[in-house]
Symmetry: C2
Subunit: 187 residues, 2 copies
């Protein structure tokens, strides 16, 4: 039934206007036929996909604070980054964790994957849990500047309540962590 | 200390290239000076902001399934939508709940607000809890086609585990709902 519903509401592409091809994203405008036969336009941002890591060190989550130009402010977020071409999500998650925090982890566990902005973008984030970390050296991209911090669950929840943490993937990770602590399960 | 860190990593805008002005989003490319004095470019998608509603009806959450052109698939999501110009988030949340599901709610409670894709977009979603619903008629936008469904917490969690629910705001709402059931609190 799910598949049939999916099919029933499909929007057929009539034309694609390619507007911008960038370093991180591209933008196109699709002319579509709606289920009732009418025409509409959909603005679509294409993104390579990303990973994020809930990394637990001495009962605290590892977060990084970095300036986000799109928001003109800094955000506290869990370590995260874009997938390289052809890269497996788990490999990317290990790489980003190491690059942004110096921590290494031999075995990550998938928590869930989600689309961040399905109304206008195809970005998907694969979220992982990393425990039993070992410490190494971070190695940031040349245009990356960030501060590493550690938060207990109580601090993290207080940060969400106070609006100091305002990043979707990070809030998702905090909720998942709390349930993991309460139930021993991630799902 | 938080404010100082924020300041330290600020990226100063040197130039803005406006690439696209659309119906839902606009796109610009900012030339910035990094904290180390070097130059970089940031692609920024501007979005009006949005609301989403965790609406509970007879101990089930209300979700809608709709085709998402950016993903070329349908998604199961909580009711949500863009802010109209000048509209308060709580008013928008009541409006979208009514439009997409027919349900009305006199009093919403804020759960949290989050940026969905801070790496390339300024979209913020304000998430609300709606209980004590009354039923009315839905009234969809002319280019909107969706199915309403009801999920228990167990069903919703199973959908996340199976990948049937893959929407960030909806997963956040499910985690918040589970904690609300377990603790009686939303934060």
């Amino acid at each position: 039934m799910y598949a049939e519903q999916n099919q029933a509401y499909k929007e057929e592409t009539m034309e694609i206007e390619r507007i911008y091809e960038g370093k991180v994203i591209s933008l196109q405008k699709d002319k579509v036929t709606l289920p009732d036969g009418n025409t509409a336009f959909r603005e679509v941002v294409k993104h390579p996909g990303a990973v994020a890591v809930l990394a637990i060190w001495q009962n605290q989550m590892v977060v990084v604070e970095q300036y986000r130009k799109a928001l003109e402010r800094s955000l506290i977020e869990i370590p995260a980054g874009k997938l390289d071409p052809g890269e497996q999500p788990m490999d990317a998650a290990m790489r980003e964790l190491k690059e942004e925090t110096g921590f290494e982890c031999k075995e990550l566990r998938p928590i869930c994957s989600f689309y961040t902005s399905p109304g206008f973008a195809d970005e998907i984030i694969h979220l992982f849990l990393a425990e039993q970390l070992t410490q190494g050296e971070s190695r940031l991209d040349e245009d990356e500047f960030l501060n590493k911090q550690f938060l207990t669950l109580e601090q993290a929840k207080a940060y969400v309540a106070e609006g100091k943490i305002r990043d979707a993937k990070t809030i998702t990770a905090i909720y998942a962590w709390e349930l993991y602590q309460k139930t021993g399960r991630m799902d």
